[in-house]
Symmetry: C2
Subunit: 170 residues, 2 copies
């Protein structure tokens, strides 16, 4: 795999990263589950998943796609594809994040507790699956993105923690 | 994606599943880390990772590839490719499993404690990456296998637990 195909893979996935990261900055507000509990007596998703974080994340991620289109129009072909791809990557990433929170609550992990693997890969697999029908990476690029994302995720979270944006370094 | 391409994807990955599952049956014996500790004072890998489990898993996984070749020679082209692919999938799966155990010990999770995501996807990503240079899935097949594996993994572990082969249902 060439360096250029690796860089394009990261460029492709960028809206998912932005969507996944932005709730740290724009989050807060009313929880999506409205305080409701699952039949195990535990919260459906928890206070960490809010409408503002979800909608803000999808908005920032989709906006990223617009900027990307104007920087590299040839990669997307047309603006409609770029926006749709960025929306699906963002919506997919945050839906995967919600599924992850649901699973963590069921496994009795408190809000903010880490789940190694799920935290780094759940949002990404979901983003890749949602975006797949519109535009897809090659299998080699996909493997690269899946293997390198946990390290980018840890680095970004550690940075956010050191900046005081997050209360825990994961 | 067609049903046939989904079935071929599962056929492709089978040696990794066999390698990942067989230490439950053939495991035990001397731990790979020989009781040694990392600089954090905790075990390098723990008593759950043994030479017998690792070598037995690679052997069973590779043998699976031999049987697969005689059942569907056209899928592999020749025996050498089938055996090399099965070996790399098995060796990759169990290497990913060791990396996962190393990370779990560093995160202070005791032996046998679940790490949602890492347990189901770590071995698979590693197997796919090791096997990639010899023979690869399409990106759609790869996504399918990555998304469906956690569910197969949970089902298989629950089965092994009910059969008394494992002491915990994960």
């Amino acid at each position: 795999m060439s360096l250029s195909s690796i860089l394009w893979a990261l460029w492709y996935i960028l809206p998912a990263y932005v969507a996944n990261g932005s709730p740290v900055l724009v989050g807060g507000g009313r929880p999506i589950d409205g305080g409701r509990k699952w039949r195990d007596g535990k919260r459906l998703l928890g206070d960490g998943k809010t409408w503002r974080g979800f909608i803000g994340g999808v908005a920032f991620g989709t906006l990223t796609g617009v900027v990307q289109y104007f920087l590299t129009p040839g990669f997307y072909g047309d603006l409609k594809t770029a926006v749709l791809l960025a929306f699906l990557l963002s919506f997919g990433a945050l839906t995967g994040d919600l599924i992850g929170s649901f699973m963590k609550r069921r496994a009795n992990l408190p809000r903010g507790a880490p789940a190694i693997g799920l935290d780094q890969l759940g949002f990404l697999l979901s983003a890749l699956a949602f975006a797949y029908p519109v535009m897809s990476l090659s299998s080699g690029q996909m493997l690269f993105v899946l293997i390198v994302t946990p390290f980018i995720h840890w680095g970004a979270n550690y940075f956010a923690y050191r900046m005081g944006w997050k209360s825990v370094p994961w």
